[in-house]
Symmetry: C2
Subunit: 307 residues, 2 copies
């Protein structure tokens, strides 16, 4: 009933209209782990770090129930580093620096002790790396979910198509769904993507919420309207962590429960953007999460009677 989470661990430098941080822990695996650990333990991390990675950050994650057994530490290299600057609307950003460092040699190895995990989240990595992880699993997990990005759509489409045929669920943003299919209509794009393999598809629309597709069914969850978005970095990965954490906790992969998982993921993402990097996620409590989920219920709940 545990969750494996494969992805990057990084240091980020982030600049938003509200301020800047020169060095904050980041990477998809960190956000997924912080969010998921509120719902399921252990969260089995598979990633790679350099000699510069702070021991205190590892301890903080381990204290939340995150296992570092699958995280390789490279002695003579630095951790993955990313730097970005957000525009005033907070919806667009410029990437200033991408130093792959250790990530350039990332060949994830799944420890034996992780083999009983029934839920697998493949963060945004080269599709060939994602395939290698799936092939290492001796028993196929009940739910394999993956993220990807426009870079792999344009540079590794054949590998991407291969891995899409191996997973249960794809999470992408609206621009990626459009680029992957050539369709502007997300309904049409969704149909094409599900033919490529995944029977579930989540299209993330940032501040405009998220859509879940499955066969002919569709579900929509809004993002919480917030006074301020302080730093959107990691919001999508935090969403994925809350989503997969809820599924791994409940062990229920019905469409109905995936809808609930989307609400949980949206609630977690709404915390993420309130402070820089994963700062807000580090301090979050169960009552706060429950309260936030109640706000989502109030936000969309209506009672209509058709005569």
């Amino acid at each position: 009933m545990s969750l494996i989470c494969v992805g990057s661990i990084a240091y980020d430098a982030i600049e938003t209209p509200f301020g800047k941080r020169e060095r904050v822990v980041g990477g998809s695996a960190v956000y997924v782990a912080y969010a998921a650990a509120n719902f399921v333990k252990p969260v089995n991390l598979v990633s790679i770090i350099g000699n510069d990675f702070d021991r205190e950050e590892i301890k903080a994650l381990e204290a939340k129930g995150v296992s570092f057994e699958g995280v390789e530490r490279v002695k003579d290299k630095k951790s993955f580093f990313w730097s970005g600057r957000y525009h005033l609307d907070m919806n667009t950003r410029d990437t200033l620096v991408t130093d792959l460092n250790v990530l350039a040699d990332f060949n994830p190895v799944i420890p034996d002790s992780f083999q009983d995990s029934e839920f697998l989240m493949l963060g945004n990595l080269h599709p060939a790396t994602q395939i290698s992880v799936i092939r290492q699993m001796k028993i196929r997990p009940r739910m394999i979910a993956m993220d990807t990005m426009n870079y792999w759509i344009s540079s590794a489409i054949e590998d991407l198509k291969l891995v899409l045929g191996m997973v249960d669920l794809l999470m992408v943003n609206d621009a990626e769904a459009r680029e992957l299919t050539g369709d502007y209509s997300l309904v049409k794009a969704a149909r094409k993507i599900m033919i490529m393999g995944p029977k579930f598809l989540i299209i993330k629309k940032g501040e405009h919420g998220a859509l879940l597709f499955h066969g002919n069914e569709v579900f929509f969850a809004p993002a919480l309207p917030l006074e301020d978005v302080f730093d959107p970095t990691g919001a999508g990965d935090t969403f994925a962590g809350g989503f997969m954490g809820h599924l791994a906790h409940t062990k229920d992969i019905s469409f109905e429960n995936l809808k609930t998982a989307i609400i949980v993921g949206s609630a977690m993402a709404s915390f993420c953007v309130e402070k820089f990097g994963p700062e807000r996620l580090k301090e979050i409590s169960k009552p706060e999460i429950d309260d936030r989920i109640r706000q989502f219920i109030d936000l969309v709940n209506f009672d209509i009677s058709l005569v």
Copy 2:
């Protein structure tokens, strides 16, 4: 229990990626009336037309329960004409022609027979014109709702502030809410707008749905994900018509019922975009509307239990 709807009646020339129409009936009042007439009769139209306006279009609206008693016909001038071309994403458009014609002299007069109307929808017009209508009402309607646009925000802000202090509800799109307040955050913008007067605020986000604000409460309704948006012209006015039509029909202006009205409005708007101009609205049936509302329930309904 009837509804007064003040706004433009026009001929439009529309070009979308799916085709073009040289001359199709349009204007805010026409869309509001076609949508509202499914829920309340009569819909009391207050508008102005030229000598070129087709008698058959009037008959079609009258057959739906729309009264033309408040529509002035000018013998020696043409009807308002608007022409626009939509971009590929269907979210942005260029206005090619705006011939005000009769609309330049529009001084709406509320007929005595309309005086008992408890619901008043003020379409997008000069704020001074909106004020003149409100002042003509001998008994203040229970719900006065208004639309506006960026043009009046920049060219008639003093009159706009005056009318905002006289109405119960403002409907604007996200860009207009931001322009009116200078706040990018819609939550902050909403708070400022409600201080200006209206106790209810609807912020329309097009394909991204609509938000309803009232005091500290907020409700969100998505737009229905559609395979194709054929022509977005009039979708916002159709939303307003379904919304006000439901309120006038139920005579209930509680926050709970406004939520339902937003769903009804969203359902009506989802029909509007399926064909050119108001073509789809002309042919719509009650069972189709009920079925569409059921799709909205399925789209957002989830069942979550907090432990």
